[in-house]
């Protein structure tokens, strides 16, 4: 059985890395006494499948994880994913909160493949709301936004413009403004810091939060799992099956 979990990562724990969080999850699942399935072989690993890595230091309201469970048939019948958020949150460090859980089809497309874009909130310093709005408008009007970035210790040139799906100023922040950006993740992710540097090098990144991850089902944009109670969970179940 495969279970999909959605969790938030906020506060001091945002300074842990993607790898750290993976280890935290392994321990939390053992503490919660969930029968996680293991890989075969010399060094058996718990079968956890994480979504797109969150940059160290960023917060998120929309992180995802698929877990393979090794439940017997009887246990599987009585298994209620609605109990998971509370049960797991109590085994996780403060700041990591499970907000939804649902059973998904074991053959479901992996999160890394399925997710096509993310929406971010970026607190930006060194600017004002109107200045930032102008920067955003200019970026959206551009034909290409070329950046050089390091990939496997080589400098490569990329055009960010095709990744930029939406960009708008949605509020003020103490010394700047709040930018909302939807950025594509296929074939590669764009880091919020790369986006900001490409928009205008004088902009300084304050707090960054991933607020959504998006996938497309039958042409309809949806989240891998919506936060909330059993209704959302079962609809996620149906959506994912449909794929």
């Amino acid at each position: 059985m495969k279970v999909r979990l959605r969790f938030a990562k906020q506060g001091k724990v945002r300074f842990t890395s993607h790898r750290d969080v993976a280890r935290v999850w392994e321990r939390a699942l053992r503490r919660a006494e969930l029968p996680v399935a293991y890989t075969q072989g010399f060094t058996p690993r718990p079968r956890l499948h994480f979504g797109l890595a969150l940059p160290t230091g960023a917060e998120s309201l929309a992180e995802y994880l698929d877990v393979d469970l090794d439940l017997g048939d009887d246990a599987a019948d009585g298994f209620d994913p609605a109990t998971l958020p509370d049960r797991l949150t109590s085994c996780l460090p403060g700041g990591i909160t499970v907000v939804a859980a649902a059973i998904v089809d074991t053959g479901v497309m992996s999160l890394q493949q399925a997710v096509t874009s993310c929406t971010w909130h970026l607190e930006v310093g060194g600017t004002t709301g109107s200045q930032l709005a102008a920067v955003a408008a200019r970026a959206l009007a551009a034909d290409e936004i070329v950046i050089t970035r390091e990939r496997k210790s080589k400098q490569v040139t990329d055009d960010l413009r095709p990744y930029l799906l939406a960009l708008s100023v949605v509020g003020e922040s103490p010394d700047g403004a709040l930018l909302e950006a939807e950025v594509g993740t296929q074939p590669r992710s764009v880091r919020p810091s790369e986006l900001l540097a490409a928009l205008d090098p004088v902009l300084t990144e304050r707090r960054v939060t991933r607020i959504h991850q998006w996938m497309t089902l039958d042409g309809v944009r949806c989240e891998p799992l919506s936060p909330g109670g059993p209704v959302a969970s079962s609809s996620a179940h149906a959506e994912v099956r449909a794929s």
Partner: protein, 649 residues
């Protein structure tokens, strides 16, 4: 309550591994501070990854936080990137729990497990905004204290610490807290507090002693007042069963060394390896009751979610009933998923590969053995009486059960070592690979050699350490001997690091200015090969008119005053001297757990004794257990690795 978090937070986005600085571990306590409480900042002066697992620090952390009149938080040395930012932005060193400035604590208590961290101690004190020299501190500054194995010769850092604790900390930490609570409520001045601390057993206040030198050599370190004890004796807890700590081991959010549950199964070791300071200073052996071990393992695994537990001690295979504890842990039906057990222990001769197989059911990758010396003659001198046949039988058994890689640890530069002894290491390695070829196509043996550093309170404390050139010559001998040996890899610890370690381990107070000069020149993180720089040390020695040879390389004499003569680890000096003579005569000494007492002083001096459940020596060992050495039926094995080292090349 003040906190640096608002200033720190924006800096964390700019440093490597910011999770080092956030705390938030499971098991962390957010203590209440207040006028009726003494606030302690427990510091490990190396990185978070190295320091967090330290069990001594975690034990004191729990004990202090259980008291209504104490509050304890933790801190570790910030890496150089954060240090630079802290200095640039005027942010002081901070605690991890509440990010309170270090300078606001009543006590900065350091755990010193290695000599090369001394410059980091100075750096942490300085980052706390506290004068590095004890003499320059005022009433409003925290007290700077230190404990841990290095404090058996604290003389090189005598100028920088206000008080040093010798031995087990469980009881004495409370006694110190009592003194400090009273002093705090009375508003006693600093000098008065130091005087009162000299009255606590196991506490050494360097400023209350004066060192005298004649003709450039130390002749005495004596108290400056009649109320100050002539000799400070170490503290020893009589029974580990009274101290089931840590009870809620810290579970870090980011990866650390020894990232697993650690349960201490006994303290002390009387195998009597003559090079081993840890064994000598922690006598006698005090085993934890097996049932308490089982409970601590079970509850610890359930609480932490770890899938690995280490049963820690200096020689875990010697624990009475180790087989059943291991079997119960591995086969515990209540544990969720697979649990692996590691048995960190530097001995070769006291465990069977069968148990290793039990322990490593799944991950059968590498095994580590520590014969320490290449010839039987040499192993008699160091009192590690492992026969060659024992080692070969262990290796044979391991290869036949599926292991492919062996790691062998050796010391070079031991007393009276000849080139034949050094080359004996190559011979052992060669034979181990040959055994491996009978079982696998490409077996591998890694030979890891470290230069021997004599330590205080060991029989080798009089021995003149080999020079860097001599150690390098021996490394090259081995390299040449093993050059065409397929399957053998040679690694060695940087002999220059061993030199500086040796300088600190047997140095006196005149090294204080040397440490300070190296620190002022930027010499922090000397345990890290990328930061270690022996030239800084050698230049500082020269500029203070001191001779490395005098401190490190010359043999010391029986009648000479040693810098630690006013301190005591319980061991009689004449016992150690006799053991040194026995070593040179190639005479071994059996383990006093199962043979009559030699009156080394560790029990007899303090009215305590061994606590060992089994009246008979463990199976599978040859050294000092009164067993028939000729039998060799059982197979010795040692698992797991040593702590990270500098410059393994």
């Amino acid at each position: 309550m003040s906190t640096v978090w608002p200033e720190l937070e924006p800096l964390l986005g700019r440093v490597q591994k910011p999770a080092r600085y956030i705390g938030c571990e499971d098991g962390a306590r957010i203590p209440e501070h207040g006028p009726g409480r003494v606030s302690w900042l427990l510091l490990y002066p190396d990185t978070y990854e190295v320091g967090l697992p330290n069990q001594g620090l975690q034990i004191l952390y729990e004990l202090l936080n259980e008291r209504p009149d104490a509050a304890a938080e933790r801190s570790y040395a910030p890496w150089t990137d954060l240090e630079e930012l802290l200095r640039e932005h005027g942010v002081p060193l901070f605690s991890l729990e509440t990010h309170r400035p270090a300078g606001e604590f009543d006590v900065l208590a350091f755990n010193l497990s290695a000599e090369l961290v001394y410059t980091n101690l100075l750096n942490c004190v300085d980052l706390a905004g506290v004068p590095v020299r004890s003499a320059d501190r005022g009433d409003h500054h925290p007290l700077v204290m230190a404990g841990g194995h290095c404090t058996y010769n604290p003389e090189p850092i005598a100028d920088f610490v206000d008080a040093v604790v010798l031995g087990d900390g469980e009881e004495v930490v409370g006694e110190i807290n009592d003194v400090l609570v009273a002093a705090k409520s009375e508003g006693a001045p600093r000098a008065e507090v130091l005087d009162r601390l000299t009255g606590v057993d196991g506490v050494y206040v360097p400023a209350r002693y004066e060192a005298t030198y004649e003709a450039g050599r130390l002749v005495a370190t004596a108290p400056v007042a009649a109320s100050v004890p002539d000799v400070v004796e170490k503290r020893t807890v009589a029974d580990l069963a009274d101290w089931p700590y840590p009870s809620t081991q810290l579970v870090p959010l980011t990866e650390v060394v020894h990232d697993r549950l650690n349960v201490e199964v006994f303290r002390g070791c009387t195998r009597g390896c003559r090079f081993c300071q840890a064994g000598m200073i922690t006598r006698p052996v005090r085993e934890r009751p097996a049932d308490q071990v089982r409970t601590m393992v079970q509850e610890g695994l359930r609480r932490t979610g770890y899938d690995e537990v280490a049963l820690t001690s200096l020689s875990t295979a010697d624990f009475s009933g180790i087989e059943s504890v291991v079997a119960d842990t591995v086969n515990d039906p209540t544990s969720c998923g697979q649990v692996s057990v590691s048995l960190p222990s530097l001995r070769v001769d006291a465990f069977t590969v069968g148990i290793a197989a039990e322990v490593q059911k799944a991950r059968r990758t590498g095994l580590t053995f520590a014969p320490e010396a290449g010839t039987w003659r040499m192993r008699q001198i160091i009192n590690k009486l492992i026969r060659e046949e024992d080692l070969y039988a262990a290796v044979e058994s391991a290869y036949s059960q599926g292991w492919r890689r062996m790691k062998l640890y050796f010391l070079i530069g031991l007393p009276s070592e000849t080139d034949e002894d050094t080359l004996g290491i190559a011979e052992l390695a060669r034979n181990c690979v040959a055994i491996g070829r009978r079982h696998h196509k490409a077996p591998s043996v890694t030979v890891s050699v470290g230069g021997f550093v004599p330590k205080a309170f060991t029989p080798f404390q009089w021995f003149g350490q080999n020079t860097v050139d001599e150690l390098l010559r021996k490394v090259h001998l081995l390299r040449d001997a093993l050059r065409h040996e397929r399957g053998v890899q040679l690694k060695w610890h940087d002999p220059r690091a061993s030199l500086i370690e040796g300088l600190m381990s047997r140095g006196d107070r005149r090294l204080g200015p040397v440490i300070e000069s190296v620190w002022r020149a930027g010499g922090t993180f000397q345990e890290w090969s990328e930061h270690f720089d022996d030239q800084r040390w050698l230049e500082a020695m020269a500029s203070h008119g001191l001779s490395v040879d005098e401190y490190v390389h010359r043999h010391r004499t029986e009648d000479e005053t040693l810098p630690w003569d006013h301190l005591s680890a319980g061991l009689h000096k004449d016992f150690l001297w006799q053991d040194w003579r026995d070593a040179l005569a190639e005479v071994g000494l059996e383990d006093c757990r199962w043979t009559p007492c030699y009156d080394c002083g560790a029990c007899t001096g303090y009215g305590i004794e061994h606590i060992v459940a089994s009246a008979t020596p463990p199976a599978g060992g040859s050294q000092g257990t009164g067993q028939d050495l000729a039998r060799g039926a059982e197979v010795p094995v040692v698992l797991s690795a040593r702590p990270p080292s500098v410059g393994v090349g």
